[in-house]
Assembly symmetry: D2
């Protein structure tokens, strides 16, 4: 398959490499010449612009930091829509708000193209290993059409419903995640202050109703789960600033839908407080530092 790939960052680059490994022909574009060269060394064509990249492409994939970048990559004079052939599907794996997805889908439809939201979970590790989960928003037919392409980069390709629901799934999941982690951090720190061994407390939670991925796989208290970022100084993992971005998307979407978001809005402020104090690059489970007075 001939694929155009725009956005070769920490996630995009390994995803694009996996598409090459899967035997696809790739044209790539990124503002970083280094990122472009890495892909070119692996066999991709370096494009001069998004418009150039999509020349002849059967699928277009974008992996960008925020909706503003997607808007620009699509609509600029040398952008995707300036060069894309009618009928070609655009797959956006960026994490953005569902309202922007609808805007971009309408824009693409006006050019005769389908626009599919397909945000991922699994982090840079999953991107490198090709084990990402893709949450796909679009018609059943479009889902079937993009599934073989996405299968080159991930192992779970989930159909979430109509256009935009991929992003809805992503931000709702991360809303729960941000809230649950803050709750686990609060409870683990409270337990410590009240004199229980954190490993014992973690063990009880994990076999009881308090169980969650945040407690049994990614426990924020150092030493409870040896493989968690908390046990290696909160390095690696999913950064506090990224969680903050996703909670921002969630509370914005709630505002747009006129839904209260009590827990998410409070969790957002707590991660913001972490970022403000200079800990935005630490794994988001470092939020437990807000609760431990010697941290």
């Amino acid at each position: 398959m001939k694929i155009a790939f725009v956005g070769l960052g920490h996630m995009g680059a390994p995803m694009a490499l996996n598409l090459l490994k899967a035997g696809h022909a790739l044209a790539v574009f990124d503002l970083s010449a280094d990122a472009m060269q890495t892909l070119a060394d692996a066999g991709a064509r370096k494009a001069a612009s998004p418009k150039d990249a999509v020349n002849g492409a059967e699928y277009v994939i974008t992996m960008l930091p925020a909706a503003a970048h997607v808007r620009s990559v699509l609509g600029a004079e040398d952008g995707v829509l300036a060069g894309i052939a009618k009928g070609v599907t655009i797959i956006d794996s960026s994490t953005i708000d569902p309202a922007s997805v609808k805007e971009f889908a309408a824009l693409a439809a006006a050019h005769g193209n389908a626009f599919v939201d397909a945000p991922v979970s699994g982090g840079t590790g999953g991107a490198a290993a090709g084990t990402l989960t893709f949450m796909v928003g679009g018609s059943a037919a479009i889902y079937e059409s993009v599934k073989p392409v996405l299968s080159g980069m991930g192992k779970n390709i989930v159909h979430c419903g109509e256009t935009g629901t991929g992003q809805v799934a992503k931000i709702c999941n991360n809303l729960v995640l941000g809230v649950t982690m803050a709750g686990v951090a609060e409870a683990m720190a409270l337990g410590e202050a009240l004199g229980i061994d954190p490993k014992v407390l973690g063990g009880i939670m994990n076999t009881s109703t308090g169980r969650s991925w945040s407690s049994d796989t990614y426990n924020p208290f150092p030493g409870v789960i040896e493989t968690a970022p908390s046990s290696r100084g909160y390095s690696g993992g999913f950064g506090t600033d990224l969680m903050l971005k996703d909670l921002g998307l969630a509370t914005d979407a709630a505002k747009g839908a006129r839904q209260p978001a009590f827990m998410g809005a409070l969790a957002q402020q707590l991660y913001q407080a972490m970022s403000t104090r200079g800990d935005g690059k630490l794994d988001f489970s470092a939020i437990i530092k807000l609760y431990r007075s010697d941290q």
Copy 2:
């Protein structure tokens, strides 16, 4: 074993019945004559007071609504401490604050008795089936000594550490539980408002980082988990007012320990709002009603 059992409510009565089935000799006391008669019919001796109940007992078990009741049952003129033999261990399975545990343990020690906190999880279902989890606070020796007794009522008898840590484990677990459920409710309602099928959203959470007991076993959105209270009108289960009580214990303990409890304190207000509007008897997962405008 000769055991005195004080407090034959929704939890205490089935627990006492299981002790009888396990072959122990029981003397029971409760303010309700009906509750006493049920146990007497099953072979227990009806005592005239806690003091009478503990006469000749090798172990004393209390299962009461709050710390004030435990205080009274222990210290009253016809209370436990007025009749208990030196060296007999008192096991309190009530859910109360860790500070009161220390007060009661000191009181008991002054009479030559050990006081063990052993709150439970598993609900009335677990009490009836004898499958409760006991979270035990006390020395290793005391833990070994009470384990055979508790085994007649539960299947997991967990040693949490020194006196009071059983309660710490219980309230920290329920703090996480109350927060996580509120977060799952918020996200499921947001997803619905944004147009994703709740079953699809639940499925994605449950195979991703948003996974928790509150989402995969007890999902608050009707129909996502067929066996959850949400799928039967929020009847049965763990009542909102009970969750409210436990979050009150958790935030009180945090106040005493001078720990912030941002997420727990907010969740407490949300369950309080549910109770204030008259929904305190519904299962606590009914908190999703605060987020669904037609509920």
Copy 3:
């Protein structure tokens, strides 16, 4: 002075009428023909578009619901910037986010025009009476230049600092207002539940450290302040949905500035809950209904 006025809603129409009364020549534009006719009957010229309205104008005033409308009115093919003469100042009295102000100021500057943010407080009553407060963001020279124009519509014309600071003042004030009102509502309802006469409680607050505009002028408890919306069924006043909009601007600005906004974000959720339950049109002091179980 020849002035173009775009946006003749509940606020804009009476403001424009006051400019006519002050002797200025007005060209007006609004999408509503009725609104246009009212102003035409009072002596204004009905323009066919914003571009037409600014033809010959010495000042341009916009009073619109949100930043998106300002963006469109400025930049559209028949918009303000398509017709405005170089050197003419644009005064925007809409309440919008400070970041958009900077965007619009840059856009205007590229056309050789100054863009001044001048949001108001005082409501529809102040707009009709010509007693609004204007919070002006721009250089000292620009402030002096627009002051005579604004004086036709208000009595306090406050210079807040450079471009954007008028909006900063407005949203920070309304952030405090939304938080304080929620706090007063919570305390008044708590006092009622605990058995104190609300008038006595209000009186004590108002002569003590709890004093605020929300308690001494606009108390949310019915009957405490006879002239407050609470004493007439929460009609009139400043609507819950408008407070919700302004808290949204404040928390968005906080997000952009990477500042925590704990209290504002929580207050926002409470007003959202009011709106979700259908009370968005009531005065914002109706938030006390969330705390009174029979309301």
Copy 4:
């Protein structure tokens, strides 16, 4: 008048001195010999116990840190109730929860004594100057009876209603105060981050709807109000830990009354976070430090 005074701390000592100055005969008791000596030097009789102090007294005044101290001073073997004559009124100026007031009033009534709650506002400055405000809970007749005594220590003696309502007034006022200050701090810090001069912002708030004692008299931003603790390094004033105590009383009272306390509970956590980081002794307006990243 012959008066017994128990509790000679930072507030009680200057209050007792003012009673002496007003010409009353005083018997005093405190655990601190130094505090007793200071009063003795001014003409008071040093009592050996609360029981001794109330011997012959026509009024009894207690000024203690918390309900537990009042309980002990009243009920101990050598306590107030062991020595007081029938018909003598006990005035408690401690800040405690309304539920304890009812408990103590019942206890006193059983001994033939009235118990009046009369907490104060005005701080140590007001105590020294004799300008305190007393919030009095009790019948109209009792209020008239205690007014002349309290007038020796304060200038506003406010009748709040039946027994307990003095405390209700105090904690509801301080609930509003704690919330409003947190809101003002959040908005002032946001304004600073967004580039407005804090003095300008403070000035706008104080002439607008954002006005409050927390902004116009006690503004948390240094330099806005020269006489506020913020302008002298947050020294003096009303300590963070005292605000934390009062918010604890308010949220406890809300819990007891089954009222939500969203804003108060969140503010409580913020002051707790200040205390946890070691700033509990600073004036409570120092909460703005949570919002200013360089603080």
